[in-house]
C-alpha cells in the first residue's frame, strides 16, 4: 500500500469514526437550545463571515502575541540605523511570520485620533464605492469598491497603528516585493499563479509614518494597476453624506461601527459591554418611497419624534424599533434596540446632525 493509499484509507476511517459516533449518540444527546446571544452571533456570522471573524479575533491575537513565534523586522537594521523616520515606523510596525500568513503588529503608544477620510481616486473603469465602514471604535476603515458585473471587489483599508492592534495577511502562494507608495515603504503581495486572480486578490500594504496609518489595498489586478491605485489614495475632498448621531446614549453604550452604503444610506451601531446593540439607520427619501417599513404581521403604534410622525413596534426578541421621517431634511430614520417604548423614544429624540469632519487636501 502506497503512502497516498494509506492516507486515503486513513481519511475514510477517520470520517467513518466520526459518523459512527454521531449515529450512536443521536438519540441520547441533549437538545441544543441556542441562546439569543448565540443566535445573534450566528446571524452576524452569516451576514458577513469575515467581519465576524475580525471582531472575534482580539483574544486570538493576544494568544498569538504571547507565543511570539518568529519575529523579524520589515526594515533592515542598516536602513533603520540611517533613517530616524524609519526607526519610528519600525517601532510601530513589526511582523511575525507563520507558515501561511503574516501578522503585522502595531506596537506604538495609544493616541486618540479622528480617522481622516481617504479614497482611491484612480479607480478602474466601472468601479464605484459601495460600502465604507468605520470599525474598531473609529480607528479602522474599510472601503469596498464594486463593479456592476462579475468582477471581484477592490478593498481599501486603513488603520491607525496603536498598541494591541495589528493585521493578519494570508500570504500563502504569494511572493512579496518591497515597494514605495508615494515615497512610503510598503510590501506588494502577488499570487504566483496569475490565473488565481479570478478568485483571489493581490495586495499592497504600506505605512504613512507621518499620519501613523497603515494602508492595505486588495484587488484582482496586476502589479502596475494595484500600484497605480495605491498611489492615487488621497484624502477625500468633502464628506459625501450628513452625519447623524445619538446624543443621549444609554449608559455603557459606545459607538462601535459606522457603515455607509452606496454613499447615501448610513447605519451607526452602538454596543454595550454585554454585546447588546443599538442601531441608527438613515437614508434620504427617494421619490417619496420609504425604506423603513413595519414587518408584515406586526402591529405598529403611531408616535411623534420632535413633532414628526413615526411608527414604533416591538419584535419577538424584545427589541423596539422606531422609524420616522424628517420632511425638512428629506431624511428617513430608523432606530432599534433592546429598550422599552419610553426609552427608545427618548433616545430617538436625541438623534442630531453632528458637525461633519473638515476635509483636507492631500
Amino acid at each position: 500500500m502506497t503512502d497516498q493509499e494509506l492516507d486515503a484509507l486513513m481519511k475514510k476511517v477517520l470520517l467513518d469514526a466520526i459518523q459512527t459516533e454521531e449515529d450512536s449518540s443521536c438519540s441520547e444527546a441533549a437538545a441544543f437550545e441556542a441562546s439569543p446571544k448565540y443566535q445573534r452571533q450566528m446571524r452576524l456570522m452569516l451576514a458577513n463571515p469575515l467581519r465576524w471573524v475580525r471582531k472575534r479575533s482580539r483574544p486570538v491575537w493576544k494568544v498569538i502575541a504571547q507565543r511570539a513565534a518568529v519575529l523579524f523586522l520589515i526594515f533592515s537594521l542598516e536602513f533603520v540605523c540611517l533613517n530616524p523616520a524609519a526607526r519610528a515606523t519600525v517601532s510601530r510596525w513589526i511582523a511575525e511570520q507563520y507558515d501561511t500568513y503574516i501578522d503585522y503588529v502595531y506596537t506604538g503608544d495609544d493616541r486618540p485620533s479622528e480617522m481622516p477620510r481617504y479614497e482611491i481616486t484612480t479607480l478602474p473603469e466601472g468601479y464605484v464605492e459601495s460600502e465604507r465602514c468605520e470599525l474598531g471604535l473609529g480607528t479602522m476603515v474599510n472601503i469596498e469598491y464594486e463593479y456592476f458585473g462579475d468582477r471581484n471587489r477592490i478593498t481599501l483599508g486603513y488603520s491607525y497603528m496603536r498598541q494591541g492592534g495589528g493585521a493578519i495577511f494570508h500570504a500563502e502562494d504569494t511572493t512579496m516585493e518591497p515597494v514605495f507608495i508615494n515615497g512610503m515603504k510598503g510590501e506588494l503581495y502577488l499570487y504566483e499563479n496569475s490565473e488565481d486572480l479570478s478568485t483571489r486578490r493581490n495586495a499592497v500594504i504600506w505605512v504613512d509614518s507621518d499620519e501613523n496609518i497603515q494602508f492595505d489595498l486588495h484587488g484582482s489586478f496586476g502589479k502596475s494597476d494595484i500600484l497605480r491605485m495605491a498611489e492615487s489614495v488621497s484624502l477625500a475632498k468633502m464628506p459625501e453624506i450628513p452625519q447623524y448621531e445619538v446624543k443621549n446614549l444609554p449608559e455603557g453604550y459606545f459607538r462601535a461601527e459606522r457603515w455607509e452604503l452606496q454613499k447615501t444610506s448610513v447605519r451607526v451601531t452602538y454596543m454595550s459591554g454585554d454585546d447588546e446593540r443599538l442601531q441608527l439607520s438613515y437614508t434620504p427619501v427617494q421619490q417619496g418611497k420609504t425604506l423603513f417599513t413595519v414587518p408584515e404581521g406586526v402591529t405598529a403604534e403611531e408616535v411623534s419624534i420632535h413633532g414628526k410622525c413615526g411608527e414604533l413596534y416591538q419584535d419577538g426578541n424584545q427589541r423596539s424599533t422606531v422609524s420616522w421621517l424628517d420632511p425638512k431634511r428629506n431624511m428617513e430614520f430608523s432606530l432599534s434596540g433592546p429598550f422599552e417604548k419610553s426609552d427608545i423614544l427618548h433616545i430617538a429624540e436625541s438623534v442630531s446632525l453632528v458637525k461633519t469632519p473638515k476635509s483636507r487636501n492631500s
Binding site: 441544543f32 458577513n48 472575534r56 507558515d99 493585521a167 478568485t199
Partner: protein
C-alpha cells in the same frame, strides 16, 4: 484592533457557499459539541471557535466534497470542544497507546477498525484528524494542541503504522 485579510469569502459566491455549509452542517456540529461538553454555553463557544477556524480555512473547505463536508466540520468542532474541556479540567490526559495497539491484533472487520479509531487516545486522534482531514501542518497542530512538533510527528506515525498493519493484514483498501 485586528484586521484579517483573507483571500476567501470575499465574494458573494463564497459567502453563498459558506451559508450552504452552515445550513448543512450546523445541527450535527451543535449536537457533537454538546455531547462532548454537556454544557450549552461551552458548546456555543466551541461552535463559534469552530466557525472561526472554518472561515480561516475556507479555501480548504471549498475543496472538500459534499459527502465529506459534515465529517470535516464535525472534526473541527470536536477538536474545539476537546480544547475547551482540556482547559477547564486543567489536566493533560494520560493516553494509553499500548492498549489500542494490542486491540489492533484482534481487529478483523472494517467496522472493528472504525471502532478502534473511535477509541484512539484523544491527542492521537486529534493529530490524525488535523493532519489528514483538515490539512494542518505539524507546526500548526503543535501550537494548537500545545504539544511539541516531535510529539505530533510521533502520534501521526504511530497512527499510520497501526492502520498500515491492520490494512495489510486484513486487505483493506481505500
Amino acid at each position: 484592533m485586528l484586521q484579517f485579510f483573507l483571500s476567501a469569502l470575499e465574494n458573494d459566491a463564497d459567502r453563498r457557499k459558506f451559508t450552504v455549509l452552515y445550513e448543512r452542517c450546523h445541527a450535527q456540529m451543535e449536537r457533537a459539541a454538546l455531547r462532548i461538553l454537556k454544557n450549552q454555553s461551552d458548546a456555543e463557544d466551541a461552535m463559534q471557535n469552530a466557525f472561526v477556524q472554518i472561515i480561516r480555512h475556507f479555501e480548504k473547505a471549498k475543496e472538500i466534497s459534499c459527502e465529506e463536508l459534515p465529517g470535516w466540520c464535525i472534526a473541527i468542532v470536536r477538536n474545539e470542544a476537546l480544547m475547551i474541556l482540556r482547559k477547564k479540567k486543567n489536566v493533560v490526559p494520560l493516553e494509553d497507546w499500548d492498549g489500542v495497539a494490542e486491540d489492533a491484533d484482534t481487529t478483523s472487520s472494517y467496522q472493528e477498525l472504525v471502532g478502534l479509531f473511535t477509541r484512539l487516545p484523544e491527542t492521537y486522534r486529534a493529530v490524525l484528524e488535523m493532519k489528514i482531514l483538515l490539512g494542518y501542518t505539524d507546526k500548526e497542530i503543535a501550537r494548537y494542541l500545545n504539544i511539541s512538533e516531535t510529539a505530533v510527528s510521533t502520534r501521526a506515525n504511530r497512527g499510520r503504522v497501526l492502520l498500515r498493519k491492520i490494512a495489510e493484514k486484513e486487505g483493506f483498501q481505500p
